[in-house]
């Protein structure tokens, strides 16, 4: 009887969850050791981090607010990956969605019940418009969407600065890089946490369903994996590419819409908070699984929030970044390990 460790192509689910949990615990252990060596009061740091994440109502509310845009941007990147495209521009589409929703809030009169759906549509359309040119360039001229979507991020962020400090600046004069408090809110269901969170989760689950259980999802999978095979099987590669990339932009745009209407209530410079870029990390952690996006976003939210908590305790920013990297690193190892299993075989 010999015992060997073997890589299997498909992941085993229970083992995968266990491997990831162990990875996170290990990362925390390493972090604790580093802090202990540098003479920090471990108990105090730990309880503070715990209190500002899971350990208090406010901590949980903050997590709920951070995780919402991360689910959506992570989903945007994941969906684009399904059709073989790298949407590095969720950040820019986020900004465009936020701008479009703000415009509706500022300039369309009417009761919230009427304006809210309009803002929702505007957010999605804004994100879509932002990815339109990269999409068409990729579909018709084979220009890499990697570069074009990335460049538009800077345009989006700067455009928000321009609007928030210029034409849309709060007329009350109380702030110098933000619009006035917007007249409509996405309703909340628990403290500050608004309906954006359940909607994001629902959207993720339904998209996962659509990708796995519809003909369209199957076609997208083939087209994304090998365009030549798609052509061979009469699957319209270009049409799927365009539709899915626009969807990806719309989802990132929704993230911006919820952020501005549900969380910050003003359009302000730096509103995107790198959520678009972190969405790429979420997608990578999720390994292409739409459901994995929710878990990945939750993990990133906890890491971000803990980082903020540590900073308020005087831990400097580079330490926080190093810790973030460490946790991601260990999770990636856990991820890989979940593809291994131990086999016992009799020598033949």
């Amino acid at each position: 009887m010999s015992i060997r460790i073997q890589r299997v192509p498909s992941e085993n689910v229970a083992g995968g969850i266990a491997a990831r949990l162990i990875a996170i615990l290990l990362a925390l252990l390493v972090a604790a050791i580093v802090f202990a060596i540098s003479g920090a009061d471990l108990g105090k740091l730990g309880s503070h981090v715990f209190k500002s994440t899971f350990g208090s109502r406010f901590g949980l509310m903050d997590l709920g607010l951070i995780v919402t845009p991360l689910i959506l941007t992570g989903l945007a990147v994941t969906v684009a990956m399904k059709v073989g495209a790298w949407n590095i521009g969720a950040e820019g589409q986020f900004c465009a969605g936020a701008i479009a929703a703000t415009a509706v809030a500022l300039f369309v009169p009417g009761p919230t019940i009427v304006v809210l759906p309009l803002m929702f549509v505007a957010g999605a359309v804004g994100g879509m418009l932002w990815i339109l040119i990269p999409t068409l360039a990729r579909a018709y001229a084979d220009v890499s969407e990697l570069i074009t979507t990335l460049l538009l991020n800077f345009v989006g962020a700067l455009f928000i600065y321009y609007l928030a400090t210029g034409p849309w600046l709060d007329p009350s004069g109380l702030s110098f890089a933000a619009t006035k408090r917007l007249p409509h809110d996405v309703p909340s269901f628990w403290g500050d946490v608004h309906w954006g969170l359940p909607i994001a989760v629902l959207l993720t689950i339904s998209l996962a369903g659509v990708l796995n259980y519809t003909r369209w999802g199957y076609e997208v999978r083939i087209a994304g994996s090998n365009p030549a095979a798609a052509r061979y099987a009469a699957i319209p590669f270009r049409r799927h590419l365009i539709v899915v990339m626009l969807m990806s932009g719309a989802i990132a745009g929704l993230a911006g819409m919820f952020e501005v209407i549900g969380t910050t209530h003003r359009l302000q410079g730096g509103i995107s908070n790198n959520f678009g870029y972190i969405g790429i990390m979420v997608a990578v952690l999720a390994r292409g699984s739409a459901i994995g996006v929710i878990a990945g976003a939750a993990l990133m939210a906890v890491i971000l929030k803990s980082g903020i908590a540590l900073q308020t305790q005087g831990v400097n920013i580079s330490t926080v970044l190093a810790l973030t990297g460490l946790i991601l690193f260990f999770t990636a190892i856990g991820d890989e390990l979940s593809h291994y299993r131990i086999v016992r075989s009799k020598p033949a």
Partner: protein
Amino acid sequence: MVMNVMLDVDRMAASGVAGQPIVSLRGVAKHFPGVIANQDVDFDLLPGEIHALLGENGAGKSTLMNILTGIYRPDLGEIIIDGKAVTFASPVEAIAAGIGMVHQHFKLVKAFTVAENIHLGWSETPGRISKALLEARTAEIAASLNLAVKPGARVSDLSTGEQQRVEILRVLSRKARVLILDEPTAVLTPAEASELFKALRQFAARGNAVIFISHKLDEVLEISDRVTVLRGGRKVATRPTSECDKRGLARLMVGQEVVLSNMRERKPGAKPISDAPVLSLRNVSARDDLGNMCLKNVTLDLRAGEILGIAGVAGNGQKELSQVLTGVRRAASGEIRVCGKDLSSRGAEEFAAFGIGHIPEDRLHSGLAPALSITDNVVIREYGKAPLSQGWVYRPSAAAALARSIAEAASVSVPDFRMPVRNLSGGNQQRLVARREMRIASNLLVAAYPSRGLDVGAINAMMGYFTELRDAGVGVLFVSEELEELFKLSDRIAVMFHGEVMGVVDSSEVDIETIGLMMGGQRRLEAGSAEGIS
């Protein structure tokens, strides 16, 4: 096992090809989940020999060579080079020890020139380089090894045979003493193959050794000095080629007698050949990817219940013909009718809807999505039909069931259908594609080089399926460069040369020599078969 080793060495000494082996494998085993790819394999490679490695699809040939070149690590057993046990952590270490491999699927960078590809990732590439220097070095190495290549040409512009020569040069330039070729001739024209053989003989004559994997037994008998046969991952025999014949080798590989029957005979009850053609081409012309005319005024008729062979040296328009016939490539001019309906300007969708199956020439690039699961790949023709789809709903469980039944019909054993299809052996991929296409071919099957990469048993089985389709009233267009195969199966044979049809002949009324002349460009005008050629 130890006994075995001793016997082997004894026999070698007795047969007079003594000398210390360059490479010995001892008791090598490699398991994948649910598959024994190699088990207890002993193998000796002597200096100066060309050693053929044979076996059915999935017998473990590629895996064994991947172990020898450091791509996989053996689960058990050892690799001995020049009498010393070694372990390779990567192909780089294997090539440093003088062992290089040309893979079943080439690994060149298409956008680079020949010289750049030769020097890529090579420790002896000079630090300060210029284009001229690289090309001069390449030309020098090529001349010293007697391999003609164009150093300045871009790899994407080269023919398959030329690309292969670059791969070989890449390996030999690193001072390889052992050259491993995995199905090198599957994609070569006969002329290219005989050139390759010349180069291999010269290489071996300098005291080096070659391991040669092939399914073409004629070739193996012609080129090799010894033969090793694998079956189900285990070695069943190593013999001097002089003691082998085709039938014996086939029996060793398959484990039973392979009966090659005449397949032109129809079963009682078979549907007769129809009067009206299922497929008719009138003056069809088409351009290749570079914009050159590659099909010129082709006129052909294929009737239901008939197998029409397309003969010709590869690269004379056969690939484009099969693409035009399946809607993957648009014809530049001319008329294509299927079952009487004009499909000249239609796309692949309409062709597939007309019950046309297509076994493409380059299965890995256009017939499959290598990174997706076996299930996803096997259902690509039927995902939109019941029971896999109802309306817009797709049912993965029904897809899995269909995948299982197709794999079973194709006699491919699959341990896990969620595994990426690229993990299957080359021949098993081909079997799945062939089976998948035969299922949808209710009117017409276009099969481009379907036997490439298949073992003898599988070729026989596949030709049997083709006759079943024929007897059920389907028209089969069968593109091949193996004349023997064409004669065995086809009712009529059309010969292509430089994109034109040189003539269509009845295979019972013509001999191999005539076809050979036509393949070289001699036209044969026969009443009724070539009226459209101007």
